[in-house]
Symmetry: C2
Subunit: 347 residues, 2 copies
Amino acid sequence: MSSLIHPVILCGGGGTRLWPVSLKSRPKPFLPLLGDRTLFEEAVQRVAGDDRFAAPMIVAGPDHLDLIETQVGGEGAHRIIVEPAARNTAPAIALAAASLSADDVLLVCPSDHHIADEHAFRKAAMAAADLARDDWLVSFGIAPTHPETGYGYLHRGEAMDGGYRIAKFVEKPDKERAEGYLASGEYSWNGGIFAFRAGHLLSELEKYRPEMAALVLKAVARGQNDGPRFHPAAQPFSAIEGDSIDYAVMENTARAAMVPADMGWSDIGNWAALQDALVARADDDGNVTRGKVDLDHCSGVMVASDGPRVSVVGLENVCVVVANGEVLVTSREGAQRVGKLPGAARQ
Amino acid sequence: MSSLIHPVILCGGGGTRLWPVSLKSRPKPFLPLLGDRTLFEEAVQRVAGDDRFAAPMIVAGPDHLDLIETQVGGEGAHRIIVEPAARNTAPAIALAAASLSADDVLLVCPSDHHIADEHAFRKAAMAAADLARDDWLVSFGIAPTHPETGYGYLHRGEAMDGGYRIAKFVEKPDKERAEGYLASGEYSWNGGIFAFRAGHLLSELEKYRPEMAALVLKAVARGQNDGPRFHPAAQPFSAIEGDSIDYAVMENTARAAMVPADMGWSDIGNWAALQDALVARADDDGNVTRGKVDLDHCSGVMVASDGPRVSVVGLENVCVVVANGEVLVTSREGAQRVGKLPGAARQ
C-alpha cells in the first residue's frame, strides 16, 4: 500500500458571484483574487514540495485546459482528467478513484477555496488520510466562524483516533438554526474536502449508485491518454445522472468520518467573503483596495479596479468592482445576489 | 428709458463638484445634466421668446467661447463679453453694465443654475426690474427648501411694492443657525441672481470700489469688437483686485432689496443636488438612472454612466457616476467633498 496521498483537484463549476472579475471564460479558480497566485495555483502548491503527497490529479472540463496547463507549474508530473461533460462531484471524484490503484488514498480538493493556514491543512490531511486507509470516508470539518446559511453542516458524533464519526449531515440551515449550530460547538462546515481510499470509495459508490459506478468504470476503461491529459470515453460518461458526492455517497455510507480543520478556510463565495479573506491587508479603517483607488471618509469598503480610477467618498461596507468594462457596486448583503444580475447571468 | 430687461449671463467659474462628468475643459454650464438641454442653454432660453427681454449679453472667459457659440442658439443677436482674466463677479457684471446704456436694466443670471418654474422666474424678474428702475439693487431671494449650510442668506426687512428691503446679508451659517433661518420664514437664499439699473450699479461701485470701477471703465473704453465678441482691454482689467458683487456692492449699499422667488431653483452644486433636481424622474423607490444601469434592491440611488454598464445591489442613498474613464461612488453627504478628490482637483 502506497503511503502517498494523491491530491485530486476539482476544477468544475463556473461561479458568477464574483462577476464582473470572474467570467465564464475565466472563472474564479483561475484568477489571482488574493494576491499573486490564483486559487487554483494555491490548491496545487498547497500539496507541492512535500514528499507525503503525490503529483496532483486534476479533474476539469474541456474549457479551461489551457489555463490549467499554464498555471499548474511543477515538472509536468500532474495528470489531467478531462470530464466529457459536467456531471457534478460524484462522477468527477469517481473518475479519479478509478484512475488510481485501489489502495491509493485520494485527497479531494476544490480549486476555488482559499486556505490561509497551509500547515493546519496538511496536518488535517494526514489525519484524514489515516482514517481513509481504515476505510472511513472522511470529510474535512471546517471550524465555523459565523452563522453562515449558505453551507451544509456536519454534526460531530463519537470521537475516534484523529477525528470523529459524522452523526448527521445538515442541509443549509436558516439563520436561527445556524446560530444554534455555532453556539453549540458541535457543528462544522462541510467544505467539500474529502479523503477516501480509492477502492473503498468505488465500492461504496457501487452500493449506493450502481449505475453511476458502472458508467464511470466504463468511461475510464475506454478512455484515451493524450500526454498528461486523460480523456474518459464520452458516451458512457455523458449518460450519467449527475450528483454530488455528498448526496451520492457521504449521506448514505455507514462509515462517514470527519477531521476538524481550523485553517482559515474561505470559499470566497462572493465579494464580501473576498473582503473578509483580505482582512490582513486592510488599512486602519478596514478598507481593502486593489488598483487605482482614491478613498475619502470610507470604512470597511473593498474596491478593486482592473484599470479606471475609482474614487469613493463617505461610504461604509460597500464593495466596488470595476473589471472587464463593467462596474459593480454592492452592499455586503447584496453580494450574495450578484450572480443573478443581468450582467453576470447573461455572459 | 428702455423698458427692456437685458439678461447678463455669467459663465465664469469652473466647478469640480460634479466631476467626473464636469471637467475643466467642459464645465457644468455646458453639460446636459438634467435632460437634453445644458444649464447654459436653459439660462439662454429662460429669457428668450419674450419681448420683455433683450438679446442676452454673455460674460465669459476665453476658454469656452466655442461651447458658448454652439449652444447659444437664437439669431446671433447675443453679445459675448470676453473677460481678459477671471476677477470674480463684481468686475464681470460691471463690464456688462458699462457696455449698456445707463438706464438699461440688467438681469444678472448665473449659467450654472437650474430653475424648474420659468413662469415664476419671469414674474420675479419683472418685479426685480421695476425695483431696479427705482435705483434699488435687487437680489432674488430664493425660497429655502432645507437648512442648507452652503449658501449665503438674505434676512428680509421692510416690505415694499413688489419686494422687501434686505435687512441683512448673512454668511454661510452652521447647521443650527440654518435650521433657525428656515423655521423663522424670514430668510431666503442668496442665489446670485440680480437686477440693477446699469448707471446706478456703476455709481454704487464707484462709491465702494472706486479703483475697480475705474479699471472696468478703462477696459471697456479701450476694448475691441470682433463680430459678436467684445474684448475689453486686458491690461487695465487684469490689474483689478477681484471681488464678488455681494462683497463689493450689495453688502455696502443702502438700497439693497430683494424679490421673493419660489421657482424650483437649484444650483446643482453636487451630485446629491442633481439627484434632488431629477426627483420627478425617479422610479417608485426614488432611484434616478441614466445610461446602462441595472439596479437590484436599491432605493434613493442615482446612477449615471456615459458608457459602461453599472450594476448596483442593495444600496440606499448612494450616487454612482461613470464618466470620462473615471468611476465615482459617493454618499449624499460625501457629494460635497467630490471637488477635493485627487481626480477632480488634478485635472
